[in-house]
Symmetry: C2
Amino acid sequence: MPKEIRLNAFLMNTVGGHLAPGQWRAPGAVPRAYLDPAYWRDLAVLLEEGGFDGLFLGDTLGVYDVHGGNADAALRAGAQAPMNDPFPLIPLMSAATRHLGFGVTASATYEQPYLLARRFTTLDHLTQGRVAWNIVTSYLASGARNMGQQALRAHDARYDHAEEFLDICYQLWEKSWDADAVQAGAVYADPARIRPVHYEGRHFSTDGIFQSEPSPQRTPVLFQAGGSTRGVAFAARHAECVFLAAPTLAGVRKSVSALHDALRLAGRAPDSVRTFAMFTVIVDATPQAARERLAAYLEQADRDGAAALLSGWTGIDLSRYGRDDALEYVDTDAGQSALASFSKLDPARRWTVGDALDYVAVGGRGPVIAGSAEEVADALQHWVDETGLDGFNLACAESPRTYADIVRYLVPELQRRGAYKTSYAEGTWREKLLGAGPHLAPDHPGTRIPLSYKAAPGAGH
Amino acid sequence: MPKEIRLNAFLMNTVGGHLAPGQWRAPGAVPRAYLDPAYWRDLAVLLEEGGFDGLFLGDTLGVYDVHGGNADAALRAGAQAPMNDPFPLIPLMSAATRHLGFGVTASATYEQPYLLARRFTTLDHLTQGRVAWNIVTSYLASGARNMGQQALRAHDARYDHAEEFLDICYQLWEKSWDADAVQAGAVYADPARIRPVHYEGRHFSTDGIFQSEPSPQRTPVLFQAGGSTRGVAFAARHAECVFLAAPTLAGVRKSVSALHDALRLAGRAPDSVRTFAMFTVIVDATPQAARERLAAYLEQADRDGAAALLSGWTGIDLSRYGRDDALEYVDTDAGQSALASFSKLDPARRWTVGDALDYVAVGGRGPVIAGSAEEVADALQHWVDETGLDGFNLACAESPRTYADIVRYLVPELQRRGAYKTSYAEGTWREKLLGAGPHLAPDHPGTRIPLSYKAAPGAGH
C-alpha cells in the first residue's frame, strides 16, 4: 500500500509565482492578477477540485535589497515585490470552498501577540477550522527597518521572542475560555468558565480575558520552516507541520531525520508532525511537452530577479560577481551554508554564480521536475519513500496553469496508484492533516501551558 | 430639492446588535450568526440592494469590565463580548458586492503603522477601492492591559501617537510609489519612480520602500469619531467622514458646527467632510407594528448588559447604584459629561440610573425612532435639515431584520421624496461619498506630507 502523498500550493500575495521571477511576461499571462479577488477564488476552487490539502501563503515584510544595495532588480522583475498582506485572501477563498486549508505566514518578530491571536481565531471561525499559522521570525533587514528597528535582531534572539509570543497565544487560545463557556441560552457566556490570562514576559505581556470565543481548532494548525539548530528545536516544540526547503533528496532526508530526533527529545511522537518539501512540478500530457515548457520558462526567467532573491536569502550581494565566477569565491560566513547547498546537488560539478541563478530562476532553492504524470508520480513517490516526507509544498512557474496541470494530469495518476486521497476527510484542517483533533494533541506543549506566567528577572526563556 | 440622505449600517464582529444587548435571545434569532460567513455575505448583499453607502464595523480591543470590576455582565449579555477581528469580514463581503463600502475600525494606539498601512492597501485593491479606516485611539483600560501596557495612555498623548501613525501611513500610501511606477511591461515596476520613506518620529519610525503598489484610493477613506476638543482638531486635520454620537438634535447640530469651524481653521472646506450620526431606526408597515416591536425590544433588552456598556463608556461602575438613584449622584470627573448628556434629552425630567439604562438598552447613546416609513423619513429629514448632517450610521436591534425593514420600507419612501439615491455612482468609495477622488483632496494634509521626516528631540508634534 503506497504512502499517501499530500499536496499544498505555495504562493505569495505578489506578482505571479514568487519563485519564478519574470514569468508574468509570458504571452497570455495577467501580470496584476494577484490584485483580483476572482483570481484567488478560482484558484482555491481549482485546488479543492484537485484534492489539495491546502494553500500555503508566504510573506516577507520588506523588499529584497541586498543585490546592488537596492531593490531595483526585485522591482523590475516583480520578484516578491510588490508584496501585499496575505491575510485578506483567506476569507474570500474560504467562502468559495469547503475543505481546502489555508496556511498563512505571520511574523512573531513584528506582530502584536494579542492582535494576531484574535485575528487567527476570527479566521478559524470564518473558515470553520481550516486555518494554519506558518510561524516565522523574519530574516530581511529591510523588513526590520520598515518596522522602525535599526537592524534585524540576532537570529536566536528572534526565536526567544517567538517563544514568548507563542506562549501568550496558547494561553489565549487554549486556557481563557472553557469548552462549555458559550451557552447562548439564559446567558451568552458563563463568566465562571472564562478566565483572564496573566503573562508577564521579558518581551511581551498580556493581562485579561481573550475577547474571542473558542474556534473549531482553538489553536490554528502550526507550521514552521526553520532549518537552523535553533529553528529545529523551535519546530520540535511547536510545529505540527514542517516545511522543508532543500535542493536534494539527501538534504531532505537529513532534515526529516533531524526533526524526528528533535521531536523525540522534546517528548513528542515523530509521526505527530507532517513534513512538506518545497517542489516545483511541471507536468503535461507528454514528457516532451512538459520539458519544452520548462525550457521556455528557463528561457524567459528573469535572472536579475533571481539574483535579487538569492542575494536576499544568502545576504551576499551577487551583483558584485560575474556569471562565470565559481561559487566558492562568494562564500562568506553569512552566506556559506546557503550557497554551499548548490554544490551538494552535484559535487563533481564546478558551480558558477550563473549556474546558481539558472537553478533558482524557476523554483527557487527547491527541486524542479518536468515530465509526464507517470514520471512525476514516480519521482514524488521516490522522494517520499526515501526521506519519510508526507508531501510537497508546490510552487509554480505560472498560476493557475501550473496547478491546473497538476490537477489534470498528476492527481489522477497518483490516485490510480492509491497514493492520493479520492475525497476529503471530514473535520477541521488539523483532523484532515493529522488524523486527530480538532485541538492540539495532549503531548503538545500548547495544551500544557500554565494560565499565569511571569519571567524571572534577567532569565532566559 | 431635498438633501440626499446617506445610510451606513453600523455593526461589530460580535453577538447580534452591539448596541442592543440581549436581543440574540429573541425567538428565531441565531445567537452565533456572527461566526457564519454566509450571515455577513447575505447582509452585505441586502445593504447593497438597499443602496446603503457602506457597512461600518466598530471594534474594541478589550471587554467591558468597569461594571462590578469584572466582565461578568458583558459576557452574560453578549454585550460586545465576545468580539472578533472585523478585518476578515471585508474580503468576503466585498466579493459578493460591487458598490458597498466598508469602514473598519483600527487603533492607532496598538497597531503597527507599516503593517496596518499594507493591510489597508491590500484591502483597497481587493475591494477595488471600497475601504475606509475609522481611526480610533482606543479608550478601554482592558484593551491596554491586553496589549501588555500597565494602563491606558493619557487621552491627548494617544492623539499625539496617532498623528505620527497617520504621517507614516500617508508617506507610504501617497509618496513611495508614483502613479506610473507600475508598468507591467518590460519591467514590472520602474525603480526610478519608487522612493523609500524615511520617518523618524518620537513614537514610530520607518525606513524603506512601501511593499504595496498604489491601490485605487491610495489612502483609504478616513473616518473619525472623536468628540473631544483634541478629537475634533484631529478630525479637522485628517477625517473625510465624521461619525457623531449624540442623543439630541441640538447636540448633533453643535457637533457639526464645531467640526465645520475646526475645518475652516485647518484650511479645509467644510463640505469636504461628510457627517453621519448614530441612529437606530425601527420601521414597519404601520406605526403600531413598529412601536410594538420597539416595545418588545425594550422588554427583552438585557439591562445588565446595558449597564456594562454604559459603565465602560463613562468609567463609572454603575453596579454601585440602584435603578432609582438620580443621575446626579453618579457624576464624577471621569463620567460627568457622558452622563450629563442624558439630562439634556429632557431637562425637565429627573433622570435616574434606571432611565439611563432603559435609554441605552436599545441603540446605545444614540437616538432611537420607531414608526412607519413616512414618520421615520420625516424625522431623518428633519435632523438633516436642522443640523447639516449628511446621513446616519444605523445601529440595529436585530440583524438582518432591522436592515431588511429599512430596505423594504424606509428606502423606497426616501426615494419617493427624492432624498435617496436610486442607483450608485460609479467609482471608488471616496468618489461615491465625496463626489471627488479617487485620491485624497489637494487640501488634505495627507497629500502634502514630506517624504522624509525626523522629529526634533523632545519636541511635540
